[in-house]
């Protein structure tokens, strides 16, 4: 059989690796900064660009899309070429993919601190960047499937299955969650409203975890773990079962982010049950990864790469057990909106995604530079700093989350809340916020050590030319073997199968929610927002208030006592986008309307501590100085009518006049209460929105 000679594109892998670690260090640094902001509010620095509400999306986007994204792109480009015995389809597309992705990250790093945000978690980037993401992702997909088309090894290894699932599903998730109507270059409004927007968002949000932070990394595990451990994968049949069950079941689980919300009960139960059924498929990956080391556990003592990988897989196992447990409604009642969730995600992020990326990078680096790792000792130090950092982080957040969760729910023997004052439940957490920042800082220091180690290693490079390889041309005789074995030789059929598997759950959950009216019972007293309230809502989104405040009172007595009537699905029908939030660093705001006088809000935004002693919220003094921008309001109201909000022609034409009149009334009230007339300042628009929240059902 004649062998064909070819080379692998290694330069592109090196590029992605460097992008990953550099962005990773930045993203983690922002993480430590925002952790400190929760411990000490002064660190918000009194400037709009650096408040927690704007930096938190920057942190999540940077570590997910820049650190983890670039890391798995590196791993995919390295392993795909070698598993398919082919150079990437097009070097040009590889470069476009790389530079396009980095441009998107730069755009994110600029726009998020400016407050340009859609408010949808992990999808905050505005519409022009969303389009760029879709384009770059399609470039990646063409390059990836093109490589499959020209492959020499006929069968697709399990790592490739996971990459296929990633490429297909991320595209679907991103496109459908990002559908929005733009108003100008920097603002858009989700086409979905309220409950429907929430469901689509968490269908996306949870499956970003699944198909951006799990499936690509499982693929990497299947390639790099046997490479690093020099052992065989434990079970091929297990990989088939756990692959298909994982991608099929994962898609259904999004609603577990919305337990006890206004989402219909049937959807909540679906989310919980599919999450529980996901334990075994997730653990299938863990078993196949860990048992690769069978008979070679002693290697763990010497090799830092294996340490990273084995601990990563262990964290994967723990997170994928904890996740389903937190999806059980009675536990979720306690954990939701608290730091317990933060602990959980960081177990997955720092432990699984971070450590597996580090392991793969340490493994690839000497091979890409044809040299030895500069210092194994430093790699070991990185490992231990990282591990201790994760443990401190997670334990601090467990204690903080469970403490606060219990305090929120606590009633005394006379049936009164023990801690009716929300801030009482916050001040207790401050020591743990410092501890969390310490854990994060240790992890960050570890990452810096790795960058140093990488620089030194790269400097000792002996040869940067592409590695060459030989393989026979792809066989063309009929495929033989069992069904799945044949499927592995038919990428098109395989991809169709993946697409069907991931679409079923999404369609069966989302379509009924959009199509069947009884899922969102309408409430006749609920009316669209006034133009000024819409402006205020956009300010709320710009400042990222939803990062710390929920707008969803759950039907739990501790909440209805604390906040008021629980939230109903019909109250959110004009909410484009929904702003339910996922974390209560501050109290819920859905029933804040009418609870305090306008002047209270003014003082509170200027300096929260003048009215809430012990508050950790930043000052928003610029809202008292900046003039309200009315220039877009007519377009905004008009865009809302396109989304089905019932404004009429007059509403659109008089939007600005209405807004100004309402602002004048608020300004007058402030003046009468002894403050300055702030009618034309942004604070009046925000007050208008806050005073409207949750009030429609009171009539």
């Amino acid at each position: 059989m004649s062998l064909e000679r070819f080379s692998y594109d290694d330069a592109i892998v090196r590029k992605f690796i460097w992008a990953s670690v550099v962005w990773g260090a930045v993203g983690m640094l922002v993480g430590v900064i925002i952790a400190m902001q929760l411990a000490d509010w002064h660190l918000n620095f009194g400037t709009s660009w650096l408040t927690f509400g704007r930096l938190r999306p920057l942190h999540t986007n940077a570590v997910i899309f820049a650190f983890a994204g670039n890391a798995f792109f590196a791993g995919i480009y390295y392993s795909t070429q070698r598993l398919l015995k082919a150079r990437m389809f097009s070097d040009g597309l590889s470069k476009l993919h790389f530079w396009g992705w980095q441009a998107i990250i730069v755009a994110a790093a600029i726009t998020l601190p400016l407050g340009l945000s859609t408010a949808k978690e992990y999808a905050e980037l505005e519409w022009p960047i969303d389009i760029a993401i879709a384009v770059v992702w399609v470039i990646f997909a063409i390059n990836f499937f093109g490589t499959i088309a020209k492959r020499r090894e006929r069968h697709l290894y399990v790592a490739i299955w996971f990459y296929i699932a990633t490429v297909i599903t991320v595209a679907i998730l991103h496109i459908f969650n990002s559908l929005a109507i733009p108003v100008g270059l920097f603002k858009s409004y989700s086409v979905y409203a309220g409950v429907q927007d929430a469901l689509v968002q968490w269908w996306y949000g949870h499956n970003a975890v699944a198909f951006f932070l799990t499936t690509p990394f499982l693929g990497l595990m299947y390639y790099f773990m046997p490479k690093a451990a020099d052992g065989p994968i434990y079970s091929y049949r297990l990989s088939i079962i756990h692959f298909w069950s994982l991608i099929f079941l994962y898609i259904w689980t999004g609603p577990h982010h919305l337990l006890y919300t206004s989402l219909p009960d049937w959807a909540q139960t679906v989310g919980m049950l599919f999450s529980l059924m996901l334990i075994a498929p997730s653990w299938g990956g863990m078993i196949n990864g860990l048992l690769t080391l069978r008979g070679g556990w002693d290697k763990l003592r010497q090799d830092p790469i294996l340490k990273f990988m084995v601990v990563a897989i262990t964290f994967y196992g723990m997170s994928t057990f904890e996740g389903p447990m937190l999806s059980i409604k009675s536990l979720n009642k306690l954990s939701h909106y608290t730091d317990w969730t933060i602990s959980h995600v960081h177990g997955g992020a720092l432990g699984w995604v971070g450590f597996l990326s580090f392991g793969c990078i340490y493994w690839m680096l000497p091979r890409l530079y044809r040299t030895k790792l500069y210092s194994e000792k430093l790699a070991n130090m990185h490992f231990w700093l990282g591990l201790v950092g994760i443990l401190i982080y997670m334990i601090a957040m467990y204690i903080s989350g469970i403490t606060q969760g219990l305090m929120w729910l606590d009633f005394d023997d006379q049936g009164y809340l023990v801690y009716p004052n929300f801030v009482e439940t916050v001040v207790n957490l401050i020591p743990f916020y410092y501890l969390r920042a310490l854990g994060g800082a240790l992890y960050l220091i570890g990452a810096f050590i790795m960058v140093f180690n990488m620089v030194k290693t790269a400097k000792s490079a002996t040869d940067l030319s592409d590695q060459t390889a030989e393989a026979p041309a792809r066989k063309t005789d009929p495929l033989v073997g069992k069904f799945h074995m044949r499927l592995e030789g038919a990428p098109l059929m395989f991809t169709v199968g993946v697409t069907v598997a991931v679409l079923i759950g999404g369609i069966l959950e989302i379509v009924p929610m959009l199509a069947i009216e009884s899922n969102v019972p309408s409430i006749s007293s609920v009316k669209p927002y006034s133009p000024l309230e819409l402006i205020g809502r956009d300010i709320y989104i710009r400042e990222g208030c939803n990062n710390c405040h929920s707008q969803m009172v759950r039907p739990i007595r501790a909440e209805t006592e604390r906040y008021g009537e629980y939230s109903k699905a019909g109250e959110f029908v004009y909410d484009h986008p929904f702003l339910w939030g996922s974390k209560r660093t501050g109290p819920d705001l859905h029933r804040v309307g009418g609870r305090y006088p306008n002047l209270w809000h003014l003082r509170h935004m200027e300096d929260p501590r003048t009215v809430v002693a012990g508050s950790i919220m930043p000052n928003y003094a610029w809202l008292l100085q900046a003039d309200t921008d009315y220039s877009d309001i007519q377009d905004v109201v008009s865009a809302m009518t396109k989304l089905g909000v019932p404004y009429n022609e007059t509403d659109i034409r008089q939007a600005e006049a209405n807004a100004r009149a309402q602002a004048a009334a608020i300004g007058q009230d402030l003046a009468q209460s002894g403050a300055q007339d702030m009618a034309d300042k942004e604070i009046s628009a925000l007050i208008a929105y806050l005073q409207r929240l949750g009030t429609d059902i009171k009539e």
Partner: protein
């Protein structure tokens, strides 16, 4: 390792070998148990026990807690009138604690007012009798931004803070805001000015 079954089709996955061991039984067990749980949980929760659904459970929880409140030691509020208990004293410490915790942000530490009205002068918006003060605290004045404190404060605490606020009248705050409302007489009744 000799018992491991291997995948017997010739591939070259960059040198990676795959065994073909059976699915671990305990793993299959988890899969079956969680799947069966799902199958049975749905009818159990949605059809057989709809009283466990969030809204119904909330109503039941509410009823249980209200019963607890009702069962708490009988309140003295009804039996003794507010004026007598105000005069009798004994509420000072509790009243100040409650005031400091909840009222200070809007009415200032010395009652001089700020976001909310001055509590030290002789002018009242809703009347200055103990009953008036008690009712404003209890039910709130929603349109003016005074929230209802009944869900937060226990009856004794609510009484105590009403007494404390009554005791602020006539004191001199460091920087009180201008009077709001109408003049009241010593008992707190509005002085009708024709």
């Amino acid at each position: 390792m000799s018992e491991d079954r291997k995948v017997d089709v010739p591939h070259d996955y960059d040198g990676i070998e795959e065994l073909d061991n059976d699915l671990p039984r305990w793993w299959l067990g988890i899969f079956w148990v969680t799947t069966l749980f799902a199958v049975f949980y749905w009818p159990y929760y949605h059809w057989i026990n709809p009283q466990k659904l969030p809204e119904a459970a909330w109503k039941a929880e509410n009823a249980a807690r209200e019963a607890e409140r009702a069962a708490a030691p009988a309140e003295t509020t009804e039996s003794l009138d507010l004026d007598a208990r105000y005069a009798a004293g004994g509420w000072e410490e509790t009243g100040k604690t409650v005031f400091d915790t909840y009222c200070v942000p809007c009415h200032a530490a010395d009652g001089g007012g700020g976001i909310g009205p001055n509590l030290t002068d002789d002018y009242y918006i809703h009347g200055g009798t103990l009953a008036n003060i008690h009712q404003v605290i209890s039910d709130g004045v929603v349109e003016k931004g005074m929230m209802s404190w009944k869900p937060v404060l226990k009856p004794d605490d609510l009484d105590a803070v009403a007494f404390f606020i009554r005791s602020l009248r006539g004191t001199t705050p460091a920087s009180g805001i201008a009077p709001q409302g109408e003049l009241v007489d010593e008992s707190g009744q509005f002085v009708t000015q024709e």
